[in-house]
C-alpha cells in the first residue's frame, strides 16, 4: 500500500464484506424446501469503509446494532477475510498470517471471555505469558503497572467462573494487554456494567494507553465511554461510514442535547430531544406539568442512535 507515513496502526481502504445467506422460507413446507435450496442472497455487512488509525490513538467506533462494527473488528483481527479492499494492521495483512498478527494485537469481546474458566486469574496470566512468550521481566513490569492502575488483588486468585461480570471484564482487559500489543480491540467492554465499574474500566484503559502508547479501537453504545476515552470517533451505519472526526467537533453539535423522558399520569413515557442551548429543560417540564401530572422524570445524554439520526438530518458532517 502506498501513501503511508509509518505512523499508522490500522489502515483500511475500500473494505467491503459480503455474506452469503440462505433465503429461508416460512413454515414446515418452507423448511423442507430450504434443505435443498440453492437460493442465496448476498448481505453487505460492510460497504466501502476507508479509515486510518494512528499509533497511540483511542478511537471510538460507533454505530447502532447490526451496523457492521463487529464485522469490521473481526476483519481487523484477521478472523474474517474482507470480500474486497485492503487492511493493514501493524503494517501487515491480518488474515494472511493470522497467527503472527495475533501476537501483535489484543482483543476483548465484551460478551465472551478468553480466560480459563475454572482457573484463578493468575494462572490464565501465566499461561498467556507463555503462549505469547513474554519475557518474565516484562511480565512482572506489566503486573506492577496493573497494580498501580487498579486493585487487582481481589481478583488475582479468584477462579474466573466465580467472578462478577465487572471483575471478569476487567480481567479480560488486563489479559488482552498482558503481552503489550501495539493494538488492542475492545468490542463493547462496558456492556452490562454498573456505573462505578464502568468508570474503573475507563480509567484502566486510559492509563494503559498512556503508559504503553497502545492504540485502542473501541466499539460501544455508551456515549459516556466515548466522552471519557476517545478523541476521535468513527460512526458507521448500515455498513457505511457516515462520520469520522474529532469528538469535539461532534460535541459542538450534540454536547448540549439531552433526552428528556417524562412519565405522565396515564403511565406512558413521553420522550423528547432538547437542545439546552436554545431551550431550558425546566421550562419544558413546567409547561408539561400544566397539561398533565408528571409521575417521573429522566434526563439522559443523547444516545448514539440519536446522534446518527442527527447526522443523517445533516447537522454535522
Amino acid at each position: 500500500m502506498d501513501g503511508l507515513t509509518g505512523n499508522e496502526a490500522v489502515v483500511m481502504r475500500n473494505v467491503c464484506k459480503d455474506f452469503k445467506v440462505l433465503n429461508r422460507h416460512e413454515g414446515l413446507k418452507g423448511s423442507i424446501k430450504d434443505l435443498f435450496s440453492r437460493d442465496y442472497k448476498t448481505v453487505s455487512a460492510v460497504k466501502d469503509v476507508t479509515m486510518t488509525v494512528n499509533k497511540g490513538e483511542i478511537i471510538g467506533y460507533l454505530g447502532p446494532n447490526g451496523a457492521g462494527k463487529s464485522t469490521t473488528i473481526k476483519m481487523m483481527t484477521g478472523v474474517l477475510e474482507p470480500t474486497s479492499g485492503e487492511i493493514l494492521v501493524n503494517g501487515k495483512v491480518p488474515y494472511k498470517n493470522r497467527t503472527e498478527n495475533c501476537e501483535n494485537i489484543g482483543v476483548v469481546f465484551g460478551q465472551r471471555s478468553q480466560l480459563w474458566w475454572s482457573l484463578p486469574l493468575i494462572e490464565s496470566f501465566k499461561l498467556l505469558r507463555d503462549l505469547y512468550m513474554v519475557p518474565q521481566k516484562d511480565y512482572e513490569e506489566m503486573i506492577d503497572l496493573y497494580r498501580s492502575l487498579v486493585d487487582i488483588e481481589p481478583v488475582l486468585h479468584k477462579p474466573v467462573r466465580q467472578m462478577s461480570l465487572g471483575q471478569r471484564t476487567l480481567s479480560d482487559i488486563l489479559a488482552a494487554f498482558l503481552h503489550n500489543p501495539p493494538v488492542v480491540f475492545l468490542d463493547e467492554p462496558t456492556i452490562g456494567l454498573d456505573v462505578s465499574m464502568k468508570s474503573k474500566i475507563r480509567e484502566l484503559i486510559l492509563g494503559l494507553n498512556k503508559e504503553k502508547n497502545t492504540t485502542v479501537i473501541l466499539t460501544t453504545h455508551d456515549m459516556g465511554d466515548v466522552d471519557a476515552l476517545c478523541r476521535r470517533i468513527v460512526i458507521i451505519d448500515k455498513g457505511m461510514k457516515i462520520y469520522d472526526n474529532d469528538i469535539d467537533h461532534l460535541k459542538n453539535y450534540f454536547g448540549s442535547y439531552r433526552t428528556l423522558k417524562l412519565k405522565l399520569a396515564d403511565d406512558t413515557w413521553e420522550e423528547m430531544l432538547i437542545d439546552e442551548k436554545t431551550t431550558d429543560v425546566m421550562d419544558v417540564i413546567m409547561a408539561k406539568q400544566k397539561e398533565s401530572k408528571i409521575k417521573d422524570v429522566k434526563i439522559l445524554e443523547i444516545s448514539t442512535e440519536e446522534v446518527i439520526k442527527k447526522i443523517y438530518e445533516g447537522s454535522a458532517k
Binding site: F19, K20, T71, K74, T77, G78, V79, L80, E81, Y95, R98, T99, E100, C102, E103, I105, V107, F109, R112, Q114, W116, W117, S118, L119, E123, K126, L127, R129, D130, L131, Y132, M133
Partner: protein, 269 residues
C-alpha cells in the same frame, strides 16, 4: 515449536481437569458397572461355545483385553467434536482463532493435560487392579515401553480422526448425530468393544488396515504381547501401520481444516 507454550497449555489442562475430581470418580464407577455387564456377557458367550478357547483367546484373555480397552477409552476420549460445535455456535471460535498458535496445534495441546490426568487416575489404577486380580498375567518388560509409544501415537491418531469429523459441524450446524456415528464406528472397528480376533475372517482382513485399529487394538496388543508384537517384524509392521495413518490423517486433517476455516473466515461461521 516452542516447548514452553506446549508445557504451559498442558499444565493448565491438568489443573482444569483436577477441578472436576468428582467427574473422575463417576467415570471409575461407571466403568465398574460397564465391566460387570461385559463380564457376564462374555461368560455367557464362552459357556455357550463349549470350549475354553474361542478365536485363540481364553476367557481371561478376553476380559483383560476388554477391561484395558475400556480404561484406554477413558484415557483417549476427546471431546473435540462437542467443544468445537459449541464454540462455533456461541462464536467463541473467534477467540480460539485469535491465539498466537495454529488452531489445530493449540487445540491438541489444550487437551493433553486432561489425558495426563486420565492416564494417572483411570488407566493406571485399572491396570494395577487387573494385575492383582490376574496375579500378574501381564508381562512387565520391554512391552510396557512399546505400549507407551503406541499409546502416544494412538492419541495423535485419535485426535486427527476427531479433527476430521469436528469441522463437519461447520457445514451441518448440528453435531449430535455425527458424533454418535463417529463414536460407534471408532469403538467397533478399533477393537474397543469386541476384540478384533472375534471378527469374521473377511471383516478382520479389512479392519486390520483401517486407522481405527491403530487407536485401541495396537497399543493393547503391544501391552499384551499379541498380534506378533513379541517379534521385531511384528513390532515394525504395527508401528509402521500407526505411522502411516498418522501421516495420512494429519495431512488430510490439515487440508480439511484449512478448507473448513475458510468457511468461518469467509462467511462468518
Amino acid at each position: 515449536m516452542n516447548p514452553k507454550r506446549l508445557l504451559a497449555l498442558t499444565r493448565a489442562g491438568i489443573m482444569e481437569a483436577l477441578q472436576f475430581r468428582l467427574g473422575i470418580f463417576v467415570t471409575l464407577f461407571a466403568n465398574l458397572i460397564y465391566l460387570v455387564l461385559v463380564y457376564y456377557l462374555w461368560k455367557a458367550i464362552y459357556a455357550s461355545s463349549g470350549t475354553d478357547v474361542v478365536n485363540g483367546m481364553t476367557f481371561t484373555d478376553t476380559m483383560i483385553y476388554l477391561i484395558l480397552a475400556t480404561a484406554l477409552f477413558n484415557f483417549l476420549e476427546m471431546f473435540v467434536v462437542w467443544d468445537m460445535s459449541r464454540s462455533i455456535q456461541s462464536g467463541k471460535i473467534a477467540l480460539d482463532l485469535l491465539k498466537p498458535m495454529r488452531f489445530r496445534k493449540y487445540t491438541f495441546w489444550s487437551y493433553t493435560g486432561n489425558h495426563v490426568v486420565q492416564f494417572v487416575l483411570t488407566f493406571i489404577p485399572t491396570f494395577i487392579v487387573v494385575m492383582i486380580v490376574t496375579k500378574g498375567a501381564i508381562n512387565m518388560g520391554i512391552n510396557l515401553l512399546w505400549f507407551i509409544i503406541a499409546t502416544v501415537l494412538a492419541l495423535v491418531i485419535n485426535y486427527n480422526i476427531e479433527m476430521l469429523v469436528a469441522p463437519i459441524c461447520l457445514f451441518t450446524e448440528s453435531t449430535w448425530g455425527i458424533n454418535i456415528v463417529k463414536e460407534t464406528i471408532v469403538l467397533l472397528l478399533s477393537g474397543a468393544s469386541i476384540p478384533l480376533a472375534f471378527f469374521p475372517e473377511k471383516a478382520r482382513m479389512i479392519v486390520q488396515y483401517l486407522p481405527f485399529r491403530a487407536v485401541y487394538d495396537i497399543p493393547l496388543s503391544m501391552l499384551l504381547g499379541k498380534s506378533g508384537s513379541d517379534t521385531w517384524q511384528g513390532l515394525v509392521s504395527l508401528f509402521g501401520l500407526q505411522l502411516i495413518w498418522l501421516v495420512v490423517l494429519t495431512v488430510a486433517g490439515n487440508l480439511f481444516w484449512n478448507c473448513a476455516v475458510k468457511k468461518v473466515t469467509v462467511n462468518g461461521g
